[in-house]
């Protein structure tokens, strides 16, 4: 837990309180995704305002902020899920390991194989557990034969910490699992494609504390191989799992810094207000 004593800063007169310029450090030592001046419009609604952020290699970065602040929208820019919203328009530059992912030539299908996403509500397909995990490898043609596919499915379930619980019932529907198991199934399904980055959009908000703890443990392990961007409403969760935290407010990126700095010594008044529970 962050040290709440750091609240002494609250009254410091030089603390900035305007929105528009990001405070802290948007740079990463070893960036994997670089977003520059990203703006997102839903029709006339300017949902993301001029956000620049670097996401490090094998780093867990948490996006926090009050509801409607644009953190999920920003997350969805990173694998072009906004493409499926007709009124959405994205400007700016986002590169993934040097590749421009906003360009018209880039096929979002190829991008999404590299940048997986786990949603807020567990959404397994109404198919068997096996088919849920095997779906990604199948559509991308990752397995040459049944044995390889079996291997991918088993490894992915193992890495998602689900294999032991479902090994005897791989052909039963994935929708029959508990909420926490379903979410881990969705994570297994995502890593089965062997992505480089995993986006998580409030992955634990529909889960009980025990299932949440399991997913967080899982994130530690996954962080050894993947860059993880997690949107969360739980400050404790952000503090537990992330190395860096980005605070969004009304579509702007207000402050980015290392997790302990944000929670112990926030530099922006809005960040301060949010993490101390005065807004949000």
């Amino acid at each position: 837990m962050p040290d709440r004593m750091a609240k002494a800063n609250v009254t410091l007169p030089e603390q900035p309180s305007e929105i528009g310029k990001t405070v802290g450090n948007i740079r990463s030592a070893n960036p994997y995704i670089v977003a520059e001046n990203v703006n997102v419009y839903y029709g006339d609604n300017h949902a993301i305002r001029n956000v620049s952020l670097e996401i490090g290699t094998k780093e867990v970065i948490a996006l926090i902020g009050p509801s409607g602040c644009g953190k999920s929208t920003f997350l969805r820019c990173l694998n072009r899920m906004n493409d499926s919203i007709e009124s959405a328009r994205v400007t700016g530059h986002i590169t993934l390991a040097g590749t421009d992912i906003c360009s018209k030539e880039l096929d979002p299908v190829a991008l999404r194989a590299r940048v997986g996403i786990v949603f807020q509500k567990p959404n397994p397909f109404p198919k068997s557990i096996y088919d849920n995990v095997a779906y990604g490898p199948r559509i991308h043609g990752l397995a040459a034969n049944r044995a390889e596919l079996d291997n991918i499915v088993h490894t992915s379930l193992e890495r998602a910490g689900l294999l032991k619980e479902v090994i005897d019932r791989l052909d039963e529907p994935g929708t029959g699992l508990s909420g926490g198991q379903q979410q881990r199934l969705c994570i297994a399904r995502t890593i089965a494609v062997d992505p480089e980055v995993i986006l998580m959009d409030e992955p634990c908000s529909a889960l009980d504390p025990i299932a949440t703890a399991r997913i967080e443990d899982l994130m530690y392990e996954l962080a050894e191989d993947y860059s993880i961007v997690i949107v969360t409403h739980s400050m404790q969760q952000a503090a537990r799992v992330s190395q860096r935290v980005a605070y969004f407010h009304l579509g702007s990126l207000v402050e980015v810094d290392e997790t302990n700095k944000i929670f112990t010594n926030p530099r922006h008044r809005l960040t301060e207000d949010y993490i101390t529970g005065r807004i949000g």
Partner: protein, 423 residues
């Protein structure tokens, strides 16, 4: 809660309960009225129509006299006088009848179908030539109506279609056990006929079947494809709104308008044959398409967006999302819509009148371009016929049509239950 608040609440309670009771009684009344009408309809229909499934037959000792049917040694199936065989057999039972008039009256007891039946027997078994055999031959529709109690024998002879002499013969036949009601096979194996006792629904059934086949083959794939395109791929703009409004309007267009369209486009312009199930099926496809599109779009809309997002997030293309996830989940709804549209098509008569399927057609159609009629049109034709015996056939044909409609709706329900997936 304070005393005064509690009083206010309890004062209103009686009024609320009364309102609820009135509402419930109104609902009950409406349901009862509906059910009563349905019961009356079915009782009336079955009461009038069920007698058509049985038919009066006369038992005769028929001598397949070679001198009559094969005067020159071989049987001429086209011109041989098979009717004479039946007439002679009947005359053998009443040897006292003589003179042209009385003999003609006696012959009128038999259906003109009697001769055809004897011919068919001889074709099937040529050894019968020269032999005598006991045969049940169809009686004329007047005899049949008398047997079923639809002709009142007590009224003045000039007011009924059966003469006193005929009554006496019928009485004699009945006393000797030669007049019986049998299962009316002809109703299901024959096409239409001017003689009610020979008229059947086979032609109309086959015509309806061919039309529905054309409708299914055309309307289902086109409708589902249109629904998928409009729901999943088409951009949302003024054009798609316009299309949506027009599809909804088309579903409400009177069916006869589709008949006029079919007449103008398929028959006058494309020169397709009149009265053909092909054209009927095309017209019914147009009629059914909006229903299928609307039902399919509703089924596609009901697929949770989380499933689409999951597949998109894994890198599935839009096509793969549709065919791997959306289609399987919405198929039960699509099929239900299709079957409901098809059962509406099965019951349509108005558009078929415009494209010539109302013609009197005796033959059972053998293909899509043969002249044919359809069940509802057959019902319309029979309901229009003056002969008393067509009344019960009209009801019987309605029973068959309703039977098929119920069967199709049952299939829709079963399909939906079977294929429904939970998530």
């Amino acid at each position: 809660m304070s005393e005064s608040t509690r009083k206010k609440v309890s004062a209103g309670l009686a009024r609320r309960r009364r309102k609820e009771r009135v509402f419930r009684m109104t609902g009950l009344l409406a349901t009862t009225v509906g059910i009563v009408f349905l019961v009356v309809f079915f009782v009336d229909l079955i009461g009038k129509g069920s007698s058509a499934f049985r038919q009066t037959f006369v038992n005769l000792e028929v001598n397949f006299d070679a001198a009559i049917v094969a005067p020159d040694g071989s049987v001429d199936l086209q011109y041989a006088d098979f009717d004479a065989l039946a007439r002679n057999a009947l005359r053998g039972l009443f040897p006292e009848v003589s003179g042209r008039g009385p003999l003609r009256e006696l012959n009128q007891l038999l259906s003109v179908g009697a001769g055809y039946q004897l011919r068919d027997m001889l074709v099937e078994n040529p050894d019968l030539l020269g032999m005598t055999q006991s045969v049940w031959l169809p009686a004329s529709s007047n005899v049949d109506m008398l047997q079923k109690g639809n002709i009142d024998a007590s009224i003045d002879a000039s007011l009924r279609t059966i003469s006193d002499a005929q009554l006496a013969w019928i009485d004699a036949l009945q006393r000797t056990g030669r007049l019986e009601l049998h299962w009316n096979r002809a109703f299901f194996t024959n096409g239409d006929s001017r003689e009610p006792e020979l008229a059947g629904i086979r032609g109309a059934l086959v015509g309806s079947f061919y039309m529905l086949l054309v409708t299914l083959v055309l309307a289902l794939p086109i409708g589902v494809a249109a629904a998928i395109y409009l729901e999943e791929f088409a951009p949302r703009n003024r054009w798609s709104d316009l299309i949506e409004v027009n599809i909804n309007n088309l579903a409400a267009v009177p069916s006869i308008v589709f008949g006029l369209l079919g007449l103008a486009v398929f028959i006058n312009w494309a020169a397709l044959p009149r009265s053909a199930p092909l054209v009927g099926g095309l017209v019914l496809s147009l009629l059914t398409l909006p229903v299928i599109i609307i039902a399919s779009r509703a089924a596609i809309k009901a697929v949770p967006p989380s499933i689409r997002n999951a597949a998109l997030g894994l890198g599935a293309s839009r096509m793969q999302v549709v065919f791997h996830h959306v289609m399987p989940l919405s198929l039960p709804g699509m099929l239900t819509g299709a079957i409901i549209g098809m059962s509406r098509a099965l019951g349509e008569s108005a558009p078929l009148l415009m494209i010539g399927m109302v013609a009197f057609i005796v033959d059972v159609p053998a293909g899509l371009s043969d002249p044919a009629t359809a069940l509802p049109v057959q019902i319309y034709l029979w309901a229009d016929s003056p002969e008393r015996a067509f009344a019960e056939r009209t009801s019987a044909a309605i029973m068959v049509l309703l039977g098929f409609l119920m069967l199709m709706n049952l299939v829709a329900v079963v399909l939906r239950k079977r294929m429904e997936q939970k998530w």
